[in-house]
Symmetry: C2
Subunit: 462 residues, 2 copies
């Protein structure tokens, strides 16, 4: 497969040149794109590419470049940069300049960026912004970033329900320059309560004199409230294949819209939070997180794990007389715990993803646990037979083989049911179903595995 | 917070009634929606809701209902159903009826559904479809479902570059009924090579006599090739915030488009595959997967885990003389392995998510491993001090305390570097970076932990 002819790879549009200070990132990007088999390269002025380019510079060069760029381009790049990089920059940047750049961002991006800064820095910047912009951004900052309100966009097209189609289209033409491309217009009554959504296409197909209120008369709205969690947003969008989801307050008044790019970020963030949270890493860690910050985020869970594994060790200690009599028990004991741990992790992963994608139906919780129990039991029986044969072959001791198989089967059953139960329990308690679930699961399968194996051995072998 | 006034919750549109055979799902859905705090309920005729309703019926009722529904509604519901449910139905359904329903699906959905069936069943259904539809679906089925070609949509608006804006708009008006809402029109040259993309808005703003070719003259295209993986699609869309991504062949000819709802599914699927694959569960498992199928998918990795944990047990066996002399070693030994395992899982999770979201830059691989090593070492030193103090307090044996601390620090360092390396290594080998990574990591941290602890103990204590 060859790349397409060069003619389909025109140069970047001439109207968005990089300033002279910016070393042109093109050759690197181009060769990398080629290596990845991408058949056309990115617009070199795309904010995401510019952000990556900036992040590879020293802090001083980063600041020089951002100050030299047109503020609109600087704003685009800053919105795409990693949190740690841009916090570092904005804490050093003159508040006047910072306000100039943030004023070019969409209000939701600006609110996200300011949320990351200390209050002193963000207040200094907000003071330099126009009072209208500052007020809009402050309102957005009042929402928890993990809620629909914290993720929504406020630059949307809002049309009053009593406009005719012709009046609406004229208004749209006047507004089209300022807003993100309006695929949808949001129709509100005089109290700003959302009563319907029309696509640009719907609007164009309406009879000239029809009012928007009539056009949306029987629409069934799917919306989220500002304080609802991002999980709910992700589930609704994935379920109904929406391109945008309106955000309202408790009285149905329109607050903003979650748009498609926010949704992709939300779904990606939630997937990261699940995987990272499960093992007790920081939920927004990545390879660019300062390493001492990562130590700080992970250490607390490792301390919990110390405590958990000390409990499991305590169980072994109960039986150290048995181990002194038969040191071979210490050889087999970790195998039981390890297999049950892995079995439990499999159940855990399935349930965590289920909770991430679908709404939680408490009536089905027992069914989930029962299903995982069956899987764990059958896998346990199959591996139990294998373990029985293996131990018998090695030791010619049928009692030891039976103790091994019995402990393995019981611990795998327990691990599977615990793996299913832990996230369901956390969810029912209103906690994040993934948080530290792997740590607690391992403590349980270790402790139970040691107890079952050493206990059965003490009863039947010694 | 109260729900909005009832007036903003109109009844479902009268033009999409459920047939009489379908028990109205409304009260249940409404109360559930209320319980979840959603301020407006779903269109009761939405395919996703209908699909959920159908899945809760017995197989016989499922088939009766699907046959009674208008074929368009049946197609919508079937496209939203879980794989296992719809395979069961389609294998029992008369091929004529099945073809009728599949004919109403978009070709990409129909290809996905037929891909799930055995060849005999899918051929029987394809034979009953119109030859043009069948041909289009067969072409889509030729793509691996995990590639861009396998996920793309072919019902798109394609316009020739030599059309004027006026001609294009007339053509669009004629086609608008058959296609999914065309936010974008794809502009091709006479050889069907994609040369640009115009939004509906761009088209409307063009001067009447401008040709589309002129309008897209200097566009830089970002596309994927049909055979590229879904991971690449997800990364490009997330990076550039696109709403749709064109799919081309090796010569740049337009094949189809990945649209926003496909992207959300792709990102969700990849997140599931990472988490499930890591622990050796089936990558598309969920709570509705038949349990025996789950046993079949998980058992092979549990067998690998048996082998891995037998190796770790073999290491303990090397030292069973030491354990016979000092049974307390068997108490502390699992704590070393468990802490290092958890440390490694944290590194593993960060790197797997990094690889899922960003392009893999091999030059940075060592930097990732080094960073995780530093984190593992510092956390190891801190927990090592804790372990040293704890063991000294319990046993008054400073040599044992030092052996414990030393083994813990070394195994945590190793675990962190292995956790970072395993997915990078799998990626470099062209494998899925998540697949079974947790299983191999645990084997390594267990084996190394036992070896370090028992080896140091044998050297310095006995």
């Amino acid at each position: 497969m060859s790349n397409p002819p060069a003619s389909s790879l025109p140069p970047p549009p001439a109207d968005r040149p990089l300033p002279e200070e910016a070393p042109p990132p093109s050759p690197d990007l181009e060769s990398r794109a080629e290596a990845q088999g991408i058949t056309a390269i990115a617009d070199l002025g795309h904010p995401a590419d510019l952000a990556e380019h900036i992040e590879n510079l020293s802090l001083k060069d980063q600041m020089d470049l951002l100050c030299a760029l047109p503020e609109e381009d600087a704003a685009g790049a800053l919105a795409e940069m990693e949190e740690y990089s841009r916090v570092e920059i904005l804490e050093k940047l003159d508040p006047d300049k910072a306000a100039g750049i943030l004023g070019e961002m969409s209000p939701d991006d600006a609110a996200d960026v300011l949320d990351e800064l200390g209050t002193a820095h963000s207040d200094a910047i907000l003071d330099k912004l126009g009072s209208e912009d500052a007020e809009e951004i402050r309102q957005l900052m009042a929402f928890d970033p993990d809620t629909a309100g914290g993720a929504m966009n406020t630059e949307i097209v809002v049309l009053e329900a009593d406009l005719t189609a012709d009046q609406a289209i004229s208004q749209l033409r006047r507004e089209i320059e300022d807003k993100e491309i309006p695929y949808y217009a949001y129709i509100v009554n005089p109290g700003n309560v959302l009563i319907g959504v029309l696509s640009l296409r719907d609007l164009l197909l309406l009879p000239s004199r029809a009012t928007l209120g009539d056009a949306v008369g029987d629409q069934v709205l799917i919306t989220v409230r500002g304080e609802q969690g991002k999980e709910e947003v992700a589930r609704l969008i994935a379920r109904y294949n929406f391109m945008a989801l309106p955000v309202v307050d408790g009285s149905g008044r329109l607050l903003g819209v979650i748009s498609h790019d926010d949704v992709i970020d939300i779904i990606n963030d939630l997937a990261s939070e699940d995987l990272l949270g499960m093992v007790g890493a920081g939920q927004d860690e990545n390879v660019d997180t300062p390493w001492l910050e990562s130590v700080r985020m992970r250490l607390p869970w490792l301390l919990v794990n110390t405590f958990n594994s000390a409990l499991a060790a305590g169980i072994v200690y109960l039986f150290d007389g048995s181990i002194a009599q038969m040191a071979f028990l210490a050889v087999l004991m970790p195998m039981v715990a390890n297999q049950a741990g892995n079995t439990g992790q499999q159940a855990l992963a399935v349930i965590i993803r289920q909770l991430a994608r679908e709404r939680f139906d408490p009536r089905r919780a027992w069914q989930y646990v029962f299903r995982e129990g069956k899987i764990g039991l059958l896998n346990g029986l199959l591996l139990g037979v294998l373990a029985w044969s293996g131990v018998l072959l090695l030791t010619s001791n049928p009692s030891l083989a039976s103790v091994m198989a019995g402990a393995l089967i019981l611990d795998m059953l327990l691990g599977a049911m615990a793996g299913a139960s832990i996230p369901l329990l956390l969810k029912a308690l209103g906690r994040d179903p993934a948080q530290a679930s792997s740590i607690f699961l391992t403590a349980l399968t270790d402790g139970a595995g040691f107890f079952l194996f050493l206990g059965l051995a003490t009863l039947f072998l010694l």
